[in-house]
Amino acid sequence: MSLWEYANPVKFLGLSERVMPWLWGFAAACLGVGLIWGFFFTPDDFRQGSTVKIIYLHVPAAFMAIQAWFMMLVVSLIWIIRRHHVSALAAKAAAPVGVVMTLIALVTGAIWGQPMWGTWWAWDPRLTSFLILFLFYLGYIALWEAIEDPDTAADLTSILCLVGTVFAVLSRYAVNFWNQGLHQGASLSLDKEENVADVFYIPLLVCMAGFVLLFLALVFYRTGTEIRVRRTRALIAREGRGAAAQVEGA
């Protein structure tokens, strides 16, 4: 039993059929519990008032926005090195989810920033970095959409993901240098800085777990969809050559 066995599309579909109900279930449970707990049963922060409740969306979304890109990087590398189709399709499947996470982080950040900093948007390094990450996601998805041949698209987007990662990190340092910023330092780390008290910390962890599970469920489901698109394409190509390119939803 090797992990690579699941690089076979059929095996992967079988695995995801078995795993997905659990993922969806736990994701819904964690998100439900975490968000309700955070929204209804946590006290207001003495400085930030009730806006502190936004943390249960903002921080997990920001976390997942970065993790989604990181996951795309890993599966892109797997595609480049081992040529498993499932991994290329998983990268394609994850990108729109990453976009949504980035968007949530940006929007909740803006809504939070308005009462706290008195402005919807500041060219703060963290906000700016997320905006740049958002642009990278858009470019990545646009490249997937623009290329017809699936293997060519997988190759090109993988290299773009690699190069993009380097430049995203460079940009992060560049904007740090460029503007020192208003944003508080990372308010969440494993050793629990004092500015996040237990009352906030535990529901936040539950929400983080919920976001991770939701992301996994979505990626599994969407990868399955991409595999089915390819299978449909292959079946049609076998049926009559030439009609292959026009698979709806491809």
């Binding site: 207001d44 806006t51 969306l57 979304a61 949504v100 909740t108 009462p115 076998r238 049926e239």
Partner: protein, 52 residues
């Protein structure tokens, strides 16, 4: 039922509304496309089964 959010009620509620709408949106979009693609695949498989 809704806790007292004080003067920041608008901000907190809109943040939750937007985020949940986006999450529901991506889930619904994924499910909708997944269903459609699955139906197409079943269709193609049926045809392939008939012909060969």
């Amino acid at each position: 039922m809704i806790p007292d959010l004080g003067k920041y009620a608008d901000a907190v509620l809109s943040a939750y509304a937007v985020s949940i709408a986006l999450l529901v949106g991506i889930v619904a979009l994924s499910l909708w496309r997944g269903r459609r693609v699955r139906a197409q695949m079943v269709e193609a498989e049926k045809r392939a089964g008939r012909n060969g």
